[in-house]
């Protein structure tokens, strides 16, 4: 009975195309590690996520000095990475790591990881412009605004509150765009290869 069952399952596997006439698998099973690496590489290239990771890593580096990262509408914009930071790589033994802690994004451990190709993929940031403070999370693939806390509303009427909230949301988005735009300008200039990248690499070595 058992032998008959085994024969049937062999036939089924052959009919499904899982095995050939010799009974061997038609496709080599990819091991878990190779699959994980392929997924990590696919994630890096999807929608040019690598450019987003470069952008967030550049922003982390630029924000460490606490100097304004850009000026928007003539007023300084300061950025502080102040919480959970997600790092991702497309190669190596570690393809993903998360650090927690208010000052962890600027820790030596993070710089060491950045130097090993684990770039910033998700970050919690605090953005200050014109005495308005916005807290939100960003990710390198979509640059969606997540878990955002907006500055306190000044209006009390429901309709005015809605308009003010929409305006503040648009401001958070426009400031994010301005930061991306500053990165893109630097990334496509000669300064990137000549000055920024060497400075970034040196900074990562501070670990």
């Amino acid at each position: 009975m058992a032998a008959r069952k085994s024969k049937v399952s062999e036939e089924t596997a052959f009919l499904r195309g899982d095995v050939g006439v010799d009974g061997q698998a038609t496709e080599e099973e990819r091991d878990e590690g190779a699959k994980e690496l392929a997924d990590a590489q696919e994630a890096l290239l999807r929608g040019r996520t690598w450019l987003g990771r470069e952008c967030l890593t550049w922003l982390l580096w630029k924000s460490e000095s606490t100097e304004p990262v850009i000026h928007f509408d003539g007023k300084p914009v300061t950025v502080v990475f102040n919480g959970k930071l997600g790092l991702r790589a497309a190669s190596g033994d570690v393809t993903e790591a998360t650090v927690k802690g208010v000052t962890s994004p600027y820790s030596k451990l993070v710089k060491h990881a950045l130097g090993r190709g684990l770039l910033v993929h998700t970050a919690k940031v605090q953005v200050t412009w014109n005495e308005q403070v916005f807290d939100y999370a960003l990710d390198a693939e979509f640059f969606d605004i997540r878990s955002a806390k907006l500055p306190a509303l000044l209006n009390e009427e429901e309709d005015d509150k809605l308009t003010e909230r929409l305006d503040l949301t648009t401001r958070a988005s426009v400031i994010t765009d301005a930061v991306i735009s500053a990165f893109v300008k630097e990334r496509t200039s000669k300064v990137w290869a000549a000055k920024t990248v060497p400075a970034l690499v040196e900074w990562m070595k501070e670990s």
């Binding site: 470069e54 979509f142 991306i180």
Partner: protein, 199 residues
């Protein structure tokens, strides 16, 4: 509603393409093309999605007074699901199976079970209301920013695709690559020093 209070979660796009002079009329007409239509309980559909007014999510007239708030257009992307819970189906089938056996002195055959399953499914669907979720969408008429107030990428992509189709525009995600012209972005490669062994 997250658009009124609480923490903000949204996907960001910019409208690209020539917009007509009467933007408000254009939006009203466009949204009506993909207005939400409820699931017919008699059908086999398990999901329906479309645009609705924000304050009254069963309305799809998109009257100017309900759609526009200052320089923003606000509306909803409504998703209804109508699925008979597996445990209700199982319990119903078990009860029917026992009654059938008692009456006929034999368990029901495969065909009888299949027929009863369909009858039961229809009966339960008729009794059950759909699960409704409404995700807000806001369009800034001056900056052309479009926000889909949702975290699920499936919902975001569905609302994006539908807006692109009915308004005949492109919604460009606000990612770094979108800030570059196609020629420039195609010539860029990951920075070697930052991505050792990049693909």
């Amino acid at each position: 509603m997250p658009i009124r209070r609480g923490s903000v979660n949204l996907a960001r796009f910019r409208l690209e393409g020539d917009l007509p002079k009467d933007v408000k009329r254009w939006l009203q007409k466009g949204l009506a093309k993909a207005a939400f239509e409820p699931i017919d309980p008699k059908s086999d559909d398990e999901r329906a999605a479309g645009f609705v007014e924000l304050e009254q999510n069963d309305k799809t007239e998109f009257a100017a007074g309900n759609l526009f708030h200052g320089l923003h257009a606000l509306f909803g992307w409504r998703v209804d699901r109508l699925k008979v819970p597996t445990n209700a189906m199982r319990a119903g089938m078990l009860e029917w199976g026992q009654a059938f056996e008692q009456k006929n002195g034999r368990p029901p055959g495969r065909r009888e079970r299949a027929e009863q399953k369909e009858t039961l499914k229809k009966a339960l669907r008729a009794k059950q209301g759909p699960v409704t979720k409404v995700f807000e969408v806001s369009v800034d008429l001056t900056s052309r920013d479009v926000f889909v107030w949702a975290t699920s990428r499936t919902v975001v992509e569905e609302a994006q695709g539908s807006l692109e189709s009915v308004l005949e525009v492109k919604l460009i995600p606000r990612v770094p690559a979108a800030f570059l012209s196609p020629g420039v972005i195609d010539s860029l490669l990951p920075t070697k020093e930052l991505f050792p062994e990049a693909p």
